[in-house]
Symmetry: C2
Subunit: 321 residues, 2 copies
Amino acid sequence: MSVTEIRARELNAKKFINEQIRNISKTVGKGYAINALSGGVDSSVVTLLGHKALGKRLTTYFIDNGLMRQGEPQAVVSLFHKLRVPVVLIDAQKDFFNALKGIVDPEKKREAITQTFYKKVFGKLVRKSNASFLLQGTNLTDIEETVARIKRQHNVFEQLGIDPKKAFGYKIIEPIIQLRKDGVRKIARALGLPGSVSQRMPFPGPALAARVIGEVTPKRIYVVRKATAITEEALKGTKAFQYLAILHRDRVTGVRDGKRVFGLQIELRCWESIDARIATPTKLSFGTLRKLADKITTEIPEVVSVTYNIATKPPSTIEAI
Amino acid sequence: MSVTEIRARELNAKKFINEQIRNISKTVGKGYAINALSGGVDSSVVTLLGHKALGKRLTTYFIDNGLMRQGEPQAVVSLFHKLRVPVVLIDAQKDFFNALKGIVDPEKKREAITQTFYKKVFGKLVRKSNASFLLQGTNLTDIEETVARIKRQHNVFEQLGIDPKKAFGYKIIEPIIQLRKDGVRKIARALGLPGSVSQRMPFPGPALAARVIGEVTPKRIYVVRKATAITEEALKGTKAFQYLAILHRDRVTGVRDGKRVFGLQIELRCWESIDARIATPTKLSFGTLRKLADKITTEIPEVVSVTYNIATKPPSTIEAI
């Protein structure tokens, strides 16, 4: 299957939106559709397109996997509530943490999250519903990166030659598959989504699990969630492409109350990039970096060391795992 | 046992040197002494004091444990050769790597190095010799930090209440035990040692093993040795108190030849400090940091990521393990 790219600057947003609404209506016919909203720009756009095409015949789920950022599930649900799009919040934290128990290999962690999401949580919702269509926010870069094996994507079975009908029992509709991120953002703005969504920083599919090296536990997610909140708050004023906090598995020596401890280390990355294909670390001031390190080690006493990434992509990647 | 501190500014170097030479002569009498030179300022001062006191009745060994920096064993031996102090170079690399095999716990690594040094390598040299006196470069800070359990020191059996006579079969003489680092540096200059020794940056006892998180293998020492050489060369112009490269055990994602790899990460630390008790990261320019990261990832292709420490001591420590 080949996909024709629509470049952002050649994209007629209104026309594209109308076409996709028509396509979705036509494909689903009198049937029912279902989709999962993550709060990212891709799934937000697809949720709005689907809602405009299908109204109540689309059920949108927000699955709280326990790996979200601070306050994220509530913020996403309440935003769509304001847009008059009903979203069903599913608390599946236990399912995900159970599936992740004891796993340290990054590929196996991704696989555990994907399988829990599709087979256990979302798959069950689909099987219980009368929907046979799944709306999904796959974009062009997702396909290319999966083919190039730069990263694995959970949402591209079709492109990898796996029959999704057979695999999970439904048909996938991918309204934004011809767009890259800049095109999707243009559509988001045209749909009236606020800047917090249309200009939202990229965030990995496995969410904070992608920011934890080694085992993902509620305790470790708590640490990286807090570090992420502090980092995002401190750096939101920068024009950086993306910034993130990573919890390392390695322990390093620190001093707490005059005693030697083996503490945790948080690595910060802040990237300048156009499209994530190449990237350089942002030249943050030492004042900003120092304040950030102080705040993290003060508010999260388990953390005794903070580093800042100084390598470019390539040979690094944006995320650590 | 209590020790009276001599502060650097109150230290009369000539007088101190003459007193210590006399003390060593008197203690050793007509016996023989032995000592191990690491190339650091402490053991270099003690070697020179001992040599002046005992001449040929002191045998000085430089034990190459395989954990030294690039060219270090040769540089140290040739410096003392120029000073007309004979130094015997012992290649004990295999002993140390065998002892370190499979060990990841930092305390156990230190213990393996200590035991290999004392019991296996140096102990054997002592037992084979007719020396019953061991000269050792313990300074005041070593004792205090051991008592405070901030770090373990291999050279303070006496202070911990362990009888060194019983433990290793010889008596320890510690000529610089009343001095701190600044005092030792003053004595080094007065003894005519070059700036490369008298002003030498602190370097940990377990050498590059202290710069490797996780298992210490010849391969991993090779990586951290190369990163250390690049870092020391790039930062020698700074007036920083200490700078170091640490090889992490965690692997992070990188791209090599268009393919995704799990590569190594090097963490750099560069400290501003007076006496290592408190320290802040040096405000290096982003140009310097970027060049350093590029050089490390280019010359050591296994490394795909480089970070720079931005936390202070406390809660961090100077070294990572």
